[in-house]
Symmetry: C2
Subunit: 341 residues, 2 copies
DNA sequence: TTCGGGCCCCAAATCGTTTTGCTAGAGTAC
DNA sequence: GTACTCTAGCAAAACGATTTGGGGCCCGAA
């Protein structure tokens, strides 16, 4: 079959506001006004215009509009990896919050790399995003945003940022971790250990745990505090080392669910009963927490709420309803008890 | 603290190509040419211009550029729900494939609703997306794209679409399901059942399974073919009904992993040994498949590859390297054997 | 009759690029 | 000196909307 008739000059030019205007016998100005409602036009003219619009199948060109109005009605969300359920849910929360106001979302995966964070930051600025939510790990604050006159609002998730227009929404990691520790203590576990995140990360989770131990008058030997790299495998290895101790723990708080699942793996491997022989608590409450066996007791990290409050904060600034200095909202991280502790 | 000095007219106007030009003592045209390289400019002029650019911190305005060139360097991906790991991974595959070519991705969640599919389709057209990948469930083909002269390339994932510029990438559900069925038969299971998707959905998976049973000379009693709604709970209920049969199955193929996990739930509940008493096979190979206990034998649905081939197809059309009629690439779905069968 | 004031609508400038001719000048060849 | 070809740069017209300062027209009041 041949591609098409060779002479297909016939492709109808895109229909613009000018076509509508000429068909309706009015000026482009008037068409614009019936569309935007920024000035009143008589009912009869409005009808004529509307008819012309639907006859011609006119659709406004957002790019042209954006050039003039300096608004893209697009938000950028910068995350380490959309494949990570936490960020996927966060993104969804954001999208849902702003969808009704006509904002779409543009997603960037940084893999936690600074160069990519920076590149995407510039990319979305140049694209004219109306707002940015920055959730790229804990490294956000290290980004240099340059000294330019950014009047684009920015929200940081999980971290602060020194910038006048920057709001922050942060989960209350410390309180959540404290609740987890207190829960284990109250359940009567004697030797409670923790698998932390890598050095310099997740300090609040460790702090919350320590505070809980202090509150319960429990000593926590240095040997019972080990580190993992957030992955299932890392959790597995860390747990292995804990269980190899002369006096292994009878309960372990893991700084995230993936590592907790790794810890569960070694419990299975060792033939231990969870939670009778060994209790395990995670952090995040990802989907997998209910799929693991036994189901994982964990601290809920409110990804969806984080995304949607970010959206609300952004909406507030973009609409001009709020224009003060940076706000910070902290989200509670409740303990959810299931089978593993 | 007061908002700012009251008279802050001082906000420096955005620096445009004209500023650069005047600072470098050349015309905007020349600046544009050094940036795009579309015409040659002398080395000395180029240097002057580049210096002016970095002195002023000029950054090109993508919106204005897009208006003129009719390119947004943005791709839209329309999925039911980014929260679903399958679509998250697909989106990531797409993003990775096109990132190097300077394309970004705009994500739309339809929740499988036709009205939203349609709305987002128009939205991304009006936004001037350079390409669209449509992965919104199995309903894509029912969308009416209108008769407009869309010269925007579209890729459908998992389904075809009657449109000259539309390519399709579809996973080989049938072959994958057949492999799963054949595997169970070869392992010597006697009564093999299946939990299908809802009516009218996932027909290929059922077909593959039936074909495998025919090939292995196994009869499959109608009672052993039940339906679920893709969810864990649905799988749980379907499995319940299967096990309540006078002659329950000793192996079950589930049309997706979530339902397989639901099936595992009832095995646990009934105290059955998996796979000794009961074998279970899923479809998709989501992350959770390796978290379930025992780990799930399943058929791999290549989400990442689907996304990245979609990206490649798009790149081919957008660059003009290909402009023929709709292509279809089918992706193999290999069986991955783990603990549950 | 004139003036003031609503009501509708229009012309033209603008947003920040890219893309065409076009031209001035410099270098050859005859 | 003429004719021709390059080279390097410029002016101006797009691209498709929004925005703003007017300006007819009509009506009622002075």
């Amino acid at each position: 079959m041949l591609p098409d008739s060779p002479d297909e000059r016939s492709r109808p030019a895109r229909v613009t506001i000018a076509h509508v205007a000429s068909r309706a016998g009015v000026s482009p100005t008037t068409v614009s006004h019936v569309l935007s409602g920024k000035r009143v036009v008589s009912a009869s003219t409005r009808r004529t215009v509307m008819d012309a619009i639907s006859d011609l199948g006119y659709r406004p060109n957002y790019v042209a509009r954006g050039l003039r109005t300096r608004q893209s009605h697009m938000l950028a969300v910068v995350v380490p990896d959309i494949t990570n359920p936490f960020y996927a849910v966060l993104t969804r929360g954001l999208a849902d919050a702003v969808d009704a106001s006509g904002y779409g979302t543009y997603v960037c995966n940084t893999d936690g790399r600074h160069d990519r964070e920076r590149k995407f930051f510039e990319d979305v600025m140049d694209r004219g995003a109306d707002g940015i939510v920055f959730a790229s790990g804990e490294t956000a604050s290290e980004i240099t945003f340059g000294q330019a006159d950014y009047d684009t609002p920015i929200i940081c998730i999980g971290d602060h940022l020194e910038h006048p227009l920057c709001d922050a929404v942060i989960p209350d990691d410390e309180a959540g971790s404290q609740a987890a520790g207190a829960f284990l203590a109250k359940r009567g576990y004697r030797r409670i250990g923790m698998i932390q995140g890598p050095p310099k990360y997740g300090a609040e989770r460790t702090a919350g745990f320590r505070s809980a131990m202090r509150g319960a008058k429990r000593k926590v030997p240095a040997k019972l505090l080990v580190r993992g790299d957030w992955t299932r495998k890392g959790g597995y290895q860390a747990m292995k080392s804990l269980m190899a101790l002369p006096e292994p723990p009878d309960a372990v708080f893991c700084a995230n669910d993936l590592m907790a699942i790794g810890a569960l793996d070694v419990a299975h491997e060792l033939g231990l009963e969870v939670p009778a022989d060994l209790a395990i608590v995670g952090f995040d409450d990802v989907d997998a927490a209910t799929i693991a066996w036994p189901t994982l007791t964990t601290v809920r990290n409110p990804a969806y709420e984080a995304g949607s409050t970010a959206g609300d904060l952004l909406l507030g600034r973009m609409s001009g309803r709020y224009s003060g200095e940076g706000r910070t909202v902290v989200l509670p991280c409740p303990l959810v008890t299931r089978g593993s502790a």
